[in-house]
């Protein structure tokens, strides 16, 4: 049974980490990061079976692949606070010689990261490959992937979506962050995605919605449902309905904070709304 209070405290600290990281270097992507704070926190703190420490092959553990790499602030915060590297290292986000590059990479050897992402549309293919490696290794663990909704405009996703279904990659749970926003505006405005559910279903996936994608309890039960649906010959897609910028009132529900950092005043307000829980770095 999930300890919701504990997870809430974790997420509040992750939100602080997100805004503090991007504020310090006046760059980065807080909007999408905040929108996925609950989801990625729940994955690492509640759902994934993880081994102590980090090795690239990740045998006999669940693995997570972040395809929309620009939400690195949330990924880094959750990784650090899940024990992959010192929390103090969040101080180096986007700085010269840091392992915390603007977009996640294996290149600087940051524990917890298994693939570079940032150039969109590539992560799902990698997750599919990792899922097939697990099958070859008779490793009965799950591969999780997260993509942005705007990212679905990249054609490579649809190659991977077709393939995963045709090849019965059923140890894969791919989540789409449906926040309806991308850099130039709403996804409806920029390039209407149509029904994402209908598209995934037409490609042969099991599709589940988590309507309250920023509600910890809803994420826990939705993802448990997704886990239960896996292993039955079909890949599983979770449509996670989130609010971009969630948890910081002036960042919520707009694409304006996709790739913009708060100023000092805005940071103070964001931190006031999210009081320290686990200790700032």
């Amino acid at each position: 049974m999930a300890d919701i209070k504990k997870l809430e405290a974790f997420v509040t600290q992750v939100r602080r980490d997100i805004v503090r990281q991007v504020h310090k270097v006046s760059s980065g992507h807080p909007g999408g990061s905040l929108g996925c704070a609950e989801f990625i926190s729940v994955l690492y703190q509640e759902l994934m079976e993880r081994k102590e420490g980090f090795d690239m092959d990740g045998i006999e553990e669940d693995l997570f692949f972040l395809s929309n790499g620009h939400i690195s602030p949330v990924f880094y915060s959750v990784l650090a606070r899940s024990g992959y590297f010192p929390v103090e290292e969040l101080n180096t986000f986007r700085l010269l010689d840091s392992r915390l590059q603007g977009h996640p990479t294996t290149h600087e050897g940051l524990p917890g990261v298994r693939i570079a992402s940032g150039s969109l549309g590539q992560g799902l293919s990698v997750a599919v490959g990792a899922a097939q490696a697990k099958k070859l290794n008779n490793d009965n663990h799950t591969i999780y992937a997260l993509m942005g909704d705007g990212e679905l405009q990249e054609g490579q996703n649809w190659e991977a979506i077709m393939y995963a279904s045709a090849k019965k990659v059923d140890n894969l749970i791919a989540t789409v962050d449906l926040n309806g926003q991308q850099i130039d505006g709403s996804t409806d405005h920029v390039l209407d995605l149509g029904s994402v559910r209908a598209k995934f279903e037409a490609f042969g996936w099991i599709v589940l919605d988590i309507e309250k994608g920023n509600d910890i309890q809803a994420i826990v039960s939705g993802m448990n449902e997704a886990k239960a649906a896996s292993g039955q010959g079909k890949p599983v897609c979770v449509l996670l309905h989130t609010v971009m910028g969630n948890g910081v009132d002036f960042m919520m529900g707009t694409h304006a904070w996709h790739g913009k950092a708060p100023n000092d005043e805005q940071l103070a307000s964001a931190l006031e709304q999210n009081p320290e829980t686990l200790g700032d770095y």
Partner: protein, 317 residues
């Protein structure tokens, strides 16, 4: 002058297939991926013997590169297979981010490289792939010259950790390197010893260089012929040692002069031992339909072209 015997012409892609067959039997971590070109890549035996280790991706090369990157996570050694054009230019960013920058142990194996793909024409005849791949930090780039060398290279790749681009071709060409050779990545192979010129060749142009050497000999010109199967990392030491003796160099490759072997050689020589250099390569052009022999003649990539460039470079000494 050493004599090299053609032990029976074969296509280099069959050497790749034979190498994969052997790896299938000897290395349980090797997996094969293909984008709807099993017959062209000659991997049917690997598939028959290891069906669980073969991944038919369909006509989706970008997805293939991503899946290959993912398969390394879990200890697999993926060998992707499609034409050179679809192995590189089509999927450059996938290779760049998910394989090269991510440091994944993927072997990108590319058949039908260059003009000798023939009648299909320029849409399929990539002449820019060596440049594209050698520009990627950490990428090893290999262009083999015959069946035996391609087989040996394929087998050697499994023991090399890191991303590799292995380039080979479609046509049947002379098979003249030893069947029992050990393939050393990054190590040049000296095929002929001479004093007047160094010929540095890669891929299908190696045999042409040997033929050119015979013609030159009759004209009283002796050549060092160096088989550079590994374009990156380049065995600069072997090349510099040779040009210190000969004082000039001709590079020969089935590729655009921009971004190819010739430019890599020029850079090394310019840093340490500049000498006159001539390029046997395509001149910043696309290919076209035709037979391999017609195309190699028209675009100046054969024995005659090498002889002419040798005479020219010697006159510049």
């Amino acid at each position: 002058m050493k004599t090299y015997e053609n032990t029976g012409s074969k296509d280099t892609r069959s050497g790749f297939g034979a190498g994969m067959t052997e790896l299938g039997r000897t290395n349980p971590n090797v997996v094969s991926l293909c984008a709807d070109l099993i017959g062209s890549l000659k991997i049917q035996t690997f598939i028959d013997e290891n069906p669980e280790r073969f991944f038919q991706i369909g006509i989706a090369e970008a997805n293939m590169m991503g899946i290959a990157a993912g398969l390394t996570i879990g200890g697999k050694i993926p060998f992707t297979g499609t034409f050179a054009n679809f192995s590189t230019g089509r999927v450059y960013d996938q290779i760049r981010q998910s394989i090269a920058y991510s440091g994944k142990n993927v072997k990108i194996c590319a058949s039908h490289a260059g003009l000798t793909l023939g009648e299909d024409g320029a849409t399929h005849q990539i002449l820019e792939d060596i440049g594209l791949m050698k520009m990627l930090p950490g990428m090893t780039v290999i262009n083999t010259c015959d069946y035996n060398q391609t087989k040996a290279a394929t087998i050697a790749l499994a023991d090399h950790v890191g991303p590799v681009y292995l380039r080979f071709g479609r046509p049947v060409v002379p098979n003249f390197t030893p069947a029992d050779q050990t393939f050393e990545i990054g190590k040049a192979v000296q095929l002929q010893e001479g004093n007047d010129v160094t010929i540095v060749a890669t891929g299908h142009l190696v045999w042409e260089a040997l033929e050119a050497c015979k013609v030159l000999n009759e004209k009283g010109i002796t050549a060092d012929v160096i088989n550079i199967h590994t374009i990156k990392p380049l065995d600069a030491e072997a090349i510099i040692k040779s040009v210190k003796k000969t004082g000039c160099v001709v590079t020969a490759e089935e590729h655009n002069f921009l971004g190819g072997l010739g430019e890599s050689v020029a850079r090394e020589l310019s840093l340490t031992h500049p000498v006159p250099q001539e390029y046997v390569a395509t001149e910043d052009t696309f290919g076209e339909s035709g037979t391999p022999a017609q195309l190699m003649e028209k675009y100046g990539l054969n024995t005659n072209a090498i002889v002419k460039k040798v005479e020219k470079v010697i006159s510049r000494k």
